[in-house]
Symmetry: C2
Subunit: 267 residues, 2 copies
């Protein structure tokens, strides 16, 4: 399993991923799920994935190949270029980049679906793409296995893929667009930490990418191993803090402290 999440904040983007993969419970390995593309000085893209590992790697490889091949330079300047000629270098809007990545993903899945289908294995991968193209706002997209996509918004500034439920309560309480980038990174880490406590298929190292808007370069990139001081201190402080809050919750009306009377109904 996998858990990746991203925050679209006023100040920029925070994207974070665990790095545990498993094919069954007896083949558990570590792979990075957070990938950065900077095909030109005027653009940066960060891509995270949850799903079939082979599909994901081939999507990444095809994106790199498209950037590596002699470029369709006409597409960069042609305002009426066809959708199929757009890639990470020629995209002028972030949604065009999301659309391109979605098309690559659909293509990889289509190529392998017949044989995978025979084995009852899903070729699907779900992706989160964050980034910015100079002159456009920064943004964060979730790209479905079917290739369509939607963006995070101020009302819901977070996107999640993979094992999303355990880490959602913390986001629902705290995620707001006006969080600082550092608070956003801490929120991502506690959401990942909660998930890895409740589901052994999600685990460190946790990778975190912090992007300050309009900088067009990564501001910070962290790799938090299980024994790193940063992860240990965040995890410990969060856990102890929550236990402390629990110890001081209001009492029921029949308890000594008498706060917060509960409505009792006859048994």
């Amino acid at each position: 399993m996998t858990y990746c999440l991203g925050l679209a904040l006023d100040e920029g983007l925070v994207m974070a991923a665990d790095s545990r993969t498993n094919a069954g419970v007896d083949y558990v390995t570590t792979f990075s799920k957070l990938h950065v593309f900077q095909p030109a000085a005027d653009r940066i893209f960060i891509l995270m994935s949850a799903g079939n590992l082979a599909t994901t790697q081939e999507v990444l490889n095809r994106i790199r190949r498209d950037l590596d091949q002699p470029r369709d330079t006409a597409a960069i300047t042609d305002p009426h270029r066809e959708r199929s000629r757009i890639d990470l270098l020629s995209a002028r809007y972030l949604f065009e980049a999301a659309d391109y990545v979605g098309r690559v993903s659909v293509g990889v899945q289509r190529d392998h679906a017949p044989t995978l289908h025979q084995s009852g294995v899903s070729a699907e991968t779900t992706l989160i793409l964050g980034g910015q193209i100079a002159g456009q706002p920064h943004g964060l997209y979730l790209i479905y296995p079917q290739g369509n996509y939607f963006a995070a918004s101020p009302q819901t500034p977070y996107l999640q893929i993979g094992e999303t439920k355990y880490g959602k309560p913390a986001l629902d309480r705290i995620a707001e667009p006006d969080l600082s980038l550092e608070n956003g990174a801490r929120l991502c880490v506690v959401s990942l930490d909660a998930t890895s406590r409740s589901n052994v298929t999600v685990g460190p190292p946790f990778e975190v990418a912090i992007y300050a808007k309009d900088s067009l370069t990564l501001t910070h990139r962290l790799k938090l191993t299980a024994d790193s001081p940063a992860l240990r201190s965040l995890s410990y402080s969060w856990n102890e803090g929550i236990r402390g809050v629990f110890d001081h919750l209001p009492r029921f009306d029949w308890e000594a402290m008498g706060e917060a009377p509960a409505q009792r109904i006859p048994t």
Copy 2:
């Protein structure tokens, strides 16, 4: 959807359930999912359900009918009675009561499966049975739709059914067998509250049953509506407390406060 959970504590049992049911998103109703049976002075059973509402109601009705019909009194005293003659009144061990409830559940599902299967609807229900029979320890069982069952243990003192993931992180941090009954009830409420914040198909009123071991009667039974002072104050205190913990988490090494340096890798 539904979320029910139970805690098997040293001091007794706490069992709690939301009361929202839905058939699709456009038919959302309120039903109690927590049911108490006291067929004799020497025994008490608390049953919670997640799954097909019609199955659940018929399970409850058949259990009540079995208690209502002229009793197989011989089964109560016959040490070698057959499994099929055991019900809530004649069970001598809690596991026998769980086995009986499982058999009733399987019977109801079997009776309706042919027509439901044609409509693509699941007849399944998953149950949690807690209680005590005099002379035996108190206990808590999860009963699968297939009729088999397992008990909570000191290592894992909680059982959950329905929409279990959102409320699990709080349990994983706090649930221990030595919690007081009141702390157990507070933990159930915060776990339910977290779930209802993240999933609209789980909602109040929350019902909570508290059973002090060896009392053979319910100690407290609460029905916490959305606007009850007890639920509002617990929910508010928990949320504000968690936000406060978040605000005081250790800083990354590049922040002013300089606590907890994070391991940075080159971008």
